[in-house]
């Protein structure tokens, strides 16, 4: 006899189901069977999974179900006025000033008035707002949307697919290289607490080479629950530098997922810089689909107060001769908490895999915490895989050396923190970007060195 499953749901969990029911007919692509099919499947997956909690291994240190009790309503685009001064305040002056092709997304809405759409078009990059892409999806978009690196076990991703309303869709043409970065700037607006659910889809065709910078910031919204997903497909021999600045407001929840698929001989260099939000979860799922490719993923957290930031990376080696490098540097002050989970799966056929992970926490106070969990699942026998993790305080001997050269203690400490972070920044190839992030670190530290 079949009994109906009676599932207990928290108020927060139920709120998302209600939100979907109310919004579904008005969501972009509601009349497109492909898009509405994706959404229905996703909300069903969410209903089955519920919000992730600490008894789910991948969410052991970030109990979203207990943190997400109040759910904010979906944002609706309202044409907020945004000037250069706003960008500078939201992103910090160094990042806002970077020369780039800008795509500015305010409250999920791709703003043509603030974006370099025609310049990108003539450089060989096709750009659509997500909403337009969903209303009438072109065939190339249908091939990738929700399919770059699909997962059915991730409730945050499922919610994003069900509720995505804004963001951008990009197709970087075959062999296209750009003289500047593409800078996707996502800002939430002002006013009452709200949820914003965005999806960026990027297809990098064969042989293209681009720096894609994503910045997330706040124009002063009182509370923000952000769920942002980027799907990125790298074609054969494509090379993408994928960089993120997370500077959401101090009360914000920042849930972000990158889904990446690498073709043959592709190169993926990712870097994430997290400063903002009360709670941040950066998920990166990367999958090697063809041989000879490499992924280099690094990140920096700078946290204070009671901030919580979690970076969880899952890299799947399905084919031979691919390499992964991961490096995370967490600077943790006050009662902040940094989490790194890095899992690398090497499938039976993935011989000659070469992977290394390193996570390092620098604790500036007795009450800060760093949790690091590297995991390797290796099913092939001819591989090189290593991982390491350290957690410690500022080295007193190094501090003394600097002080003995006349550098006052606070400045010496800042220099050492900068140096700790610097090892991760060195992985950013582009000098201008590297310096912008170094400047952002200095700004956080309240000092400047040259």
């Amino acid at each position: 006899m079949e009994l109906p499953v009676q599932q207990f749901r928290t108020k927060g969990e139920q709120a998302y189901l209600d939100m979907f029911d109310q919004a579904r007919d008005a969501l972009p692509g509601a009349r497109d069977p492909f898009v509405s099919g994706l959404r229905t499947k996703a909300i069903e997956a969410y209903a089955r999974l519920g919000l992730p909690h600490r008894r789910i291994e991948a969410w052991k240190y970030t109990d979203l179900r207990s943190r997400l009790t109040d759910t904010f309503p979906l944002l609706s685009a309202a044409g907020v006025a945004v000037g250069d001064g706003d960008l500078s305040r939201a992103l910090g002056s160094a990042l806002a000033a970077l020369p780039a092709y800008r795509l500015v997304v305010v409250e999920g809405d791709l703003r043509a008035d603030l974006s370099d759409l025609s310049a990108l078009k003539s450089a060989g990059v096709e750009v659509l707002s997500l909403a337009r892409g969903l209303e009438k999806p072109p065939s190339w978009l249908k091939k990738v949307l929700g399919q770059v690196n699909p997962r059915d076990d991730d409730a945050v991703l499922a919610l994003n697919t069900a509720l995505m309303t804004g963001g951008v869709v990009l197709r970087i043409g075959e062999g296209v290289t750009l003289d500047k970065s593409i800078h996707i700037i996502q800002l939430d607006g002002t006013g009452e607490p709200a949820s914003t659910v965005t999806r960026n889809v990027v297809v990098a065709e064969q042989g293209s080479s681009v720096t894609l910078l994503e910045s997330y910031g706040s124009l002063g919204l009182r509370g923000l629950q952000r769920n942002a997903v980027t799907e990125l497909s790298l074609g054969n021999k494509a090379a993408i530098r994928h960089i993120k600045l997370q500077r959401d407001g101090e009360e914000a929840f920042h849930l972000a997922t990158w889904l990446v698929r690498l073709g043959e001989d592709a190169r993926y260099d990712a870097f994430q810089f997290s400063l903002g939000a009360a709670l941040a979860r950066n998920q990166i799922y990367a999958r090697f689909a063809d041989e000879g490719s490499s992924a280099n993923i690094s990140g920096v957290f700078l946290l204070r107060g009671r901030q919580h930031c979690d970076t969880t990376i899952l890299v799947e080696h399905l084919v031979p001769r691919c390499g992964t490098r991961e490096l995370l540097k967490a600077v943790l002050d006050d009662e902040s908490r940094g989490v790194f989970q890095g899992k690398i799966i090497v499938s039976p056929g993935a011989q000659k895999t070469d992977s290394k992970q390193m996570a390092q926490g620098l604790l500036l106070s007795e009450t800060a915490e760093f949790d690091s969990k590297p995991e390797l699942e290796i099913f092939a026998d001819d591989v090189v895989c290593g991982h390491g993790s350290t957690s410690g305080q500022i080295d007193e001997d190094l501090l003394f050396y600097l002080e003995a050269r006349g550098i006052p203690e606070p400045e010496a400490r800042a220099l050492l923190i900068q140096a700790f972070v610097g090892e991760a920044l060195e992985r950013i190839e582009d000098e201008g970007l590297r310096e912008a992030f170094a400047a952002a670190s200095s700004e956080w530290l309240g000092v400047s060195f040259d």
């Binding site: 003394f400 003995a404 006349g406 220099l415 900068q418 140096a419 700790f420």
Partner: protein
């Protein structure tokens, strides 16, 4: 210029300096010699203000001030410089950034204007040339991957840039071949000046062939056991430290491990 009276210092609860007296007048170069464990490096660290060295008795008067009441960076800007026996490696800090931060911190504290980038580069290049330091080396992270000789030359470069009034050199010759000793010694001799005092700590007489001291003090069991002119160093070369609670043969074997 600096006067040390009855200095007692504990390290991890153990007394290392046991009533050390020493006076170093302006413009003079004094050598501190002694067997391993006699307290030579402890003296160097205490003068620079290292944290875990606990002064239990005694005074150090520096330019009329109480040196022991000053924190390490205050000592440095007031003109005390310690050339480390084991200079620290700091990955992620470019040597040039470090030098510039240090020079400007010291200039600022002394009431001088900070140097502009071109002026600073010129200043460093000139000093580096004297010490045969390749400017490329200064672009690398501080002391990371430097040879023993490069590290020591980098210490002397810092000394030249910061223009201290008191130079304390802790076994600057250790681990160097004879050519490197000569380069380092030339760098030091170029800094000898009427308004500058130097304390050269060394286990071996060898360095003192190149940096000829005005006085030599032999440390033994945390005190100055004997003082004399430069000839005292030569005498020790002959007889070893056997008369000072050390054993020449043992010291030879253990010299690399001197604390």
């Amino acid at each position: 210029m600096i006067e040390i009276n009855n200095l007692h210092v504990n390290v991890e609860g153990r007394e290392i300096l046991k009533g050390l007296d020493l006076a170093l007048p302006q413009g003079e170069v004094h050598a501190i010699m002694g067997p391993n464990g006699s307290g030579k490096s402890t003296l160097a660290y205490v003068l620079a203000g290292k944290g875990e060295y606990e002064v239990t008795a005694g005074t150090v008067t520096w330019k009329g001030r109480d040196l022991l009441a000053m924190n390490p960076s205050e000592r440095a800007v007031s003109g005390v410089f310690l050339a480390f026996q084991y200079p620290m490696e700091i990955p992620g800090v470019a040597t040039m950034t470090f030098l510039r931060t240090a020079v400007n911190a010291v200039r600022k504290a002394r009431g001088d204007a900070e140097l502009s980038t071109p002026d600073f580069l010129r200043f460093v290049r000139n000093k580096a040339k004297l010490l045969k330091i390749d400017p490329e080396m200064l672009k690398r992270p501080l002391n990371v991957g430097f040879s023993g000789g490069e590290k020591k030359r980098n210490e002397i470069l810092q000394m030249a840039l910061l223009e201290p009034a008191l130079c304390v050199m802790d076994e600057t010759d250790s681990g160097l071949d004879i050519d490197a000793v000569r380069i380092v010694a030339e760098g030091v001799n170029a800094l000898r000046a009427a308004d500058r005092a130097m304390l050269v700590i060394t286990h071996y007489q060898r360095l003192l062939n190149y940096i000829v001291p005005d006085r030599v003090h032999v440390l033994s069991d945390g005190r100055v056991a004997r003082s004399g002119g430069p000839e005292l160093a030569l005498e020790l070369e002959e007889s070893g430290y056997a008369d000072f609670g050390g054993d020449a043969a043992r010291d030879e074997a253990a010299s690399g491990a001197a604390a």
